[in-house]
């Protein structure tokens, strides 16, 4: 009962956070700002998946959250490596 209201608040807050991330992703002055915004969007999406799993009362979404975490980290490292070295796999 109380958890339902808390989940509504969480949905609203995380959606607003994703909108702010999209703002930074579009407006960011440098390239690393956009990379940081994409990384934050991945973390916020993990939070959204967890909250959605609690709303649906199923644990099946945690595998997708784990996949999101792994691919987000890998893509951030790949972007930074591309900026640092000019190539991803040398």
């Amino acid at each position: 009962m109380i958890i339902g209201y808390a989940l509504d608040i969480a949905f609203f807050a995380i959606a607003l956070a994703l909108l702010l991330n999209v703002w930074r992703l579009l407006a960011g002055p440098t390239m690393m700002d956009r990379v940081l915004a994409a990384d934050t969007m991945v973390i916020n999406t993990i939070a959204l998946i967890i909250v959605f799993g609690m709303r649906q009362e199923t644990t099946q979404y945690f595998e997708s959250a784990l996949l999101f975490a792994m691919f987000g980290f890998t893509s951030t490292v790949a972007y930074c490596r591309f900026v640092l070295r000019g190539d991803i796999i040398e």
Binding site: M1, I2, I3, Y5, A6, L7, I9, A10, A13, I14, L16, A17, L18, L20, N21, W23, R24, T30, M31, M32, D33, V35, L36, A37, D39, T40, I43, N44, I46, A47, I50, V51, G53, M54, E57, T59, F62, E63, A65, L66, A69, M70, F73, T76, V77, Y79, C80, R81, V83, L84
Partner: protein, 136 residues
């Protein structure tokens, strides 16, 4: 499900969502990239950690199983957030910092910043190493 338990889980959910929102708001509000790097990597990670704690408690009470997946997500996020922040700071310095001696704060010990090829400090290190070897 008892009322105290519901209140604990709800407070964890609301606190986690608030920290996530604060981290993303800092991404907009803060002035410089190196300052801006702090809010998503710390506040947002803490918010997702609180949400995962709430999820662990909720499913442990609801279905009586202690899922290992949330623990794995928490561990993975808390391990990878500092690494990705370090990578992004390195890439930013590589891209935008042209004069490291003027722009970066001075270092307390000998040796340069690890991203920049600082020939003087490398030479000094080699000298000290060779002095140590001759002393031995």
């Amino acid at each position: 499900m008892s009322v105290t338990f519901e209140i604990i889980v709800s407070v964890l959910i609301v606190v986690g969502a608030a920290f996530t929102l604060i981290g993303s708001f800092g991404l907009i509000r803060l002035p410089d990239f190196m300052i801006r790097l702090h809010s998503p990597t710390k506040a947002t990670t803490l918010g997702v950690g609180a949400l995962l704690c709430a999820s662990i408690m909720y499913f442990f009470n609801d279905q009586g199983l202690l899922s290992i997946n949330e623990l794995m997500i928490t561990l993975f996020l808390f391990l990878t957030a500092p690494i990705s922040a370090h990578f992004m700071a390195r890439a930013h310095l590589h891209e935008h910092c042209r004069n490291p001696r003027q722009e970066l704060p001075p270092l307390p010990e000998q040796g340069g910043w690890s991203i920049f090829e600082d020939n003087d400090s490398q030479a000094a290190d080699q000298q000290s190493v060779s002095q140590q070897s001759t002393n031995l």
